[in-house]
């Protein structure tokens, strides 16, 4: 039943559309609008249900190019996940630790992790880029960025 990718995605979309539709039916009623806030979401939910069914049963066969696109080696996916985790950590910590330090750490480790071996250049860029951005944003543009543990 879930033999093709289209079927699997179709099923997933069907579930998402159902949840969305369920939530649309929960929207409170507002007395003064002929077309209330729930009308369009309900329409969208139904449309998405129909489209997901259409995708499920569509006979379109994936082209070779499409298949190639989703052929991702496991290892690469892990690399990607690791980068996302790094970004997540960055967001989690940068208001506390501060923009300059956190950005420097991120650029250095992310670049190194992705295979950048000239560590001298890496260090220089990791320090100069956040410093430069900080100076431009905070002093030239007046947009404050978190300073965190640094005094400035």
């Amino acid at each position: 039943m879930l033999s093709t990718m289209n079927r699997r995605i179709g099923l997933l979309l069907f579930i998402i559309a159902s949840v969305y539709l369920y939530l649309s039916f929960q929207l409170p009623n507002y007395p003064y609008a002929p077309v209330d806030a729930d009308v369009i979401p309900k329409g969208l939910g139904i449309l998405m249900l129909i489209l997901s069914v259409a995708l499920f049963f569509s006979r379109a066969i994936e082209t070779e190019a499409e298949k190639a696109k989703r052929n991702i080696p496991k290892k690469e996916l892990l690399v990607l996940l690791a980068v996302f985790a790094m970004i997540f950590l960055y967001i989690l910590l940068f208001e506390m630790v501060g923009f300059i330090v956190m950005t420097a750490v991120f650029i250095f480790f992310c670049s190194w992790f992705l295979g950048y071996e000239k560590w001298k250049t890496n260090i220089i860029v990791s320090i100069l880029f956040p410093l430069g951005m900080y100076i431009i944003f905070v002093f030239a543009l007046g947009i404050s960025l978190p300073n965190g543990i640094l005094p400035i």
Partner: protein, 337 residues
Amino acid sequence: MKKTWLTAILAAGALTLAGCNSDNSSEGASGEEGGSFEPSKTIEVVAPAGAGGGWDTTAREVARIFGETGIIEENLTVINKEGGGGAIGWAYIHGQDGSAHNMFVASPPLMFVPLNGQSEHGHEDFTPLANVIADYGAFAVSADSEWDDLNDLFDQMKEDPESVTVVGTSAPGSMDHMQFVRIAKAAGVDPTKIKYVSAQDGGALTSVLNGSVDVFSTGVGETVEQVRAGNIKVLGITAEERMEGEVLSEFPTAIEQGIDESFVNWRGFFGPPNMDQAAVDYYEEKFKELSESEEFAEVRKKYGWSEMYMDGEEYEEFLDNEKQEIQALLEEIGLGN
């Protein structure tokens, strides 16, 4: 629902009481220490909206005048905390409990947004410092409209409510909507039959000019230029008495048209909860000085604002009353939360 309202009143009452208490004690203390509070670092003024809007402009102008006149010697910086119609900025200030170097600019949305259930924080959660200016609402129609005053409009609305559409910038239940409902109800229009649409990005004025909608509920300032150019006419404003200034003084109030109701778009400053009484006293005085300065009079004139100074205590009382009235009105039209 009712319960939260009750707690809110109680909390507000408790706050006022607490305010009174600390007031007394600090008076005693200041007898010994003298002026007691001086800002020791940069004062952060939050505009809970993006750059360029009403809150932002007020905050920046006030900060500028404080700086230029030297009324407050310490620096004031304005920061924008945009989002949730103000809720994000309020939550931020609420987190600065007790700080004497943070404040934010506020206006009626500080009541409307929590009343609409869109913010946990309302005015009673903060320390009112002072109100500085007042702005008023205006109801405008296209220049070639058949209505010449509010009573013409309201008569039509009583007769055939479906034929009149009101447009404003904010969502229903918020300022542009409720100021109209308030005046219309006082004139005898059934408040549950008012048709209101919300339009952003200049759409409201456009729709009135091209005749898609009939009435534009907005701030007085937004109408002046269009009235001068003869594009629209203002049927009535929500001020208690006529305003001063060119064009402005020609706008009739609702009261003089026999509708006994008004609405003020107040704008003032609040500090975080539990701000020290000495700091409150300090800011009250500084805002009073600002409000009375010639420089700020210029600013008011530039934007068509009126003077309306209230100290913290008076402010709180005023707001509690306002909130009660709005709450009742919202419940009547079925938008109460």
